[in-house]
Amino acid sequence: MATPTYTLIDSTVLGSSASSVTFSSITQDYRDLVLVMEYFANTSTADANVQLNSDTSQNYPYVVMTGTGSSAVSGQSTTYPALRTGFDSIADTTSKHNVIMQILDYSATDKHKPVLVRGGGAGTYNAAEAWAERWASTSAVTQIDIKTFTDAFAAGATFYLYGIEA
């Protein structure tokens, strides 16, 4: 069995604050995608939401478990308009939110796309989270839009998209 490898497809490092980042024309040459984000809020609260192929409908059900440092909670939704990855709630350049998102079988056209996310941050904002999500579409993933529904990503935020070979 071949060793799965990370091959960089595209990346963005923000030179100034922005409310969205887009990776388009995603090659179909890999088995899975891994999106690695490290960001912090620009002024108050930034949430990174990921939409695939510009689909803004409520096609992204999820279940999440979260540790806050003092409690453990879980939630779910069947109607959310993006893949969720959590919040960075404070504008603090030393307390970043780190997210690793795996999009499995992203080029398949015969199945919905399962998505696994691990993320969180320690310091000013405390959370360790794991999300199991799904994009309810049989289309191959060709575009990824990473959006904040509130605030913006501060300058210095990094976004790396890798392909995982079969």
């Binding site: 540790g67 440092g69 453990a72 969180g120 310091g123």
Partner: protein, 168 residues
């Protein structure tokens, strides 16, 4: 993802596993380890430090499941970063705890965020799994990583592998 080095603990055990002279040509690092301790416990915490920094520069929290309940713990200003549980001499023989640690932007001049997921399942009633989110406030590029348990030694056949993810 390219393997930098794998270290296997030899006979006699080792108090720590250390990766030094880490190449600076990657974007992220992934540390994967499968370890066991000779401490008389079933769940021993493991930690990392970077660049031998043992000052109070580490913040971490974990979400932990025991098979019957879940809870969360956070620590600020620690001298080390928590990365998972490993079994000890009171655990089922030949079982090891397994963890993957992801370290983002390890050569940056900003504080480093890292996260891990951990399983300490030993075919016994007392089990643990955890995810954690951590921060090291150091602003130097990470050039060495020290992995160790909260007490005693890693036993023989414990392994740790360090990978780099590049922008190639």
């Amino acid at each position: 993802m390219q393997l930098i080095e794998t270290i296997e603990v030899g006979s006699g055990g080792a108090a720590s596993i250390e990766f030094t002279s880490i190449p600076q040509d990657g974007v992220d690092l992934v540390l994967v380890f499968s370890c066991r301790t000779d401490n008389a416990t079933v769940h021993l915490s493991t930690y990392v430090t970077f660049n031998s920094d043992t000052s109070a520069n580490y913040d971490w929290l974990f979400l932990r499941g025991s098979g019957t309940s879940a809870d969360s713990v956070s620590v600020s200003g620690d001298t080390k970063g928590w990365v998972g549980y490993i079994p000890g001499s009171s655990s089922t023989a030949n079982t090891f705890g397994n963890t993957a640690v992801y370290i983002s932007n390890y050569t940056s001049s900003a504080a480093k965020s890292f996260s891990s997921d951990n399983a300490n399942e030993t075919n016994a009633a007392s089990v643990r799994m955890a995810i954690d989110a951590s921060k090291w406030s150091g602003t130097d590029a990470i050039s060495s990583i020290q992995l160790f348990g909260s007490s005693d030694n890693f036993v023989q056949y414990s392994t740790a592998s360090l990978y780099k993810i590049t922008a190639d």
